[in-house]
Symmetry: C2
Subunit: 192 residues, 2 copies
């Protein structure tokens, strides 16, 4: 049975290669440049191989998104745990969120902008996505204020962060005010 195990290992490793290459290509040249032909060429296999791992391009985007969600959750938790006090924790969390979006634009797009075929806010939502939301909830739930449902507050705060992230990156907001907008968001929205 060792032969079969080796094959499965190789197959799994090739799948990781596909996802990593897609992500790399997307970060370098944007998702438009991630075509099945270019991706196949980079991993040094033919196009149909991609389809033996994923149903189509959507699923590849989805795989990058899941990978990114795990990293994002970790980054958010790390930022929150490095800060002392509720105010500092919320500020650090918000800052970490926007920094992740800025440093990994392709991953952020895969998560929230493109169609990766992922379910959200439902029962069959993949674990990494739920966990990323949970990472937000852990810190933001503390500052929802009395009588306000923590999850609902988190959704609102998250929406604001998402809006800042996307509008900033699309050049819709002047970059100069970024820090002030973030301060104001934390100050006003959170009950400290």
């Amino acid at each position: 049975m060792s032969v079969q195990e080796r094959k499965e290992r190789e197959r799994a490793s090739r799948e990781r290669l596909i996802v990593a290459t897609a992500r790399e290509l997307a970060e370098q040249q944007g998702w438009d440049a991630v075509t099945t032909r270019r991706l196949a060429e980079r991993i040094e296999y033919s196009q149909p191989v991609l389809y033996s791992h994923f149903r189509g391009k959507r699923e590849i985007i989805g795989a990058v998104a899941l990978e990114g969600a795990t990293e994002m959750a970790a980054a958010l938790r790390a930022a929150a745990s490095d800060a002392d006090g509720r105010r500092a924790r919320v500020a650090a969390l918000a800052h970490a969120y926007l920094e992740f979006a800025e440093r990994n634009p392709a991953v952020y797009d895969a998560l929230f902008q493109l169609d990766g075929g992922l379910a959200f806010a439902q029962e069959d939502t993949p674990e990494p996505l739920k966990d990323a939301f949970a990472a937000l909830l852990e810190t933001l739930g503390e500052v929802a204020g009395e009588g306000v449902h923590p999850a609902l507050f988190t959704e609102l705060f998250w929406s604001a962060l998402h809006g800042l992230a996307t509008l900033t990156r699309a050049g819709r907001l002047l970059p100069e005010g970024a820090e002030q907008r973030l301060d104001l968001l934390v100050e006003r929205l959170a009950v400290l």
Copy 2:
């Protein structure tokens, strides 16, 4: 010279037809369905005619976006002027914004989600876009609070609305909480 004038009128009218048809098709079947072939067929001309009016598909999206921006500005001003008192005005504005996004998803996408080749937050930003932001600023500037720059406050509030609009439509937020999230946003962010 009347012949030439007639031709110019006809040309302008055909351009309006292109934009209106693109918008209609996008609202009906999504922007993916708006291909140059389908669009050409609907206006009963061949593809190259599109390119005698617009540089390419991007510019057509941009034209829909500008049309939408004008309408949005009007809708926001109408909602604000119908309400009495600052709190009600801000709530009405926010509600009108989200309603516009929900009822005109294709236009909203053209404005903020797709690349219509439009400049933002710059000197050469088209007038309708500046005006839509101005419509937000007129109402939101009043509730920025002391020592907070009205434009910066408006950018933040707008970001939150944009986040709510996009995440809701992408199925990332549960629709049930929409009203509560909106109330909370107005209550917390605005200084009433």
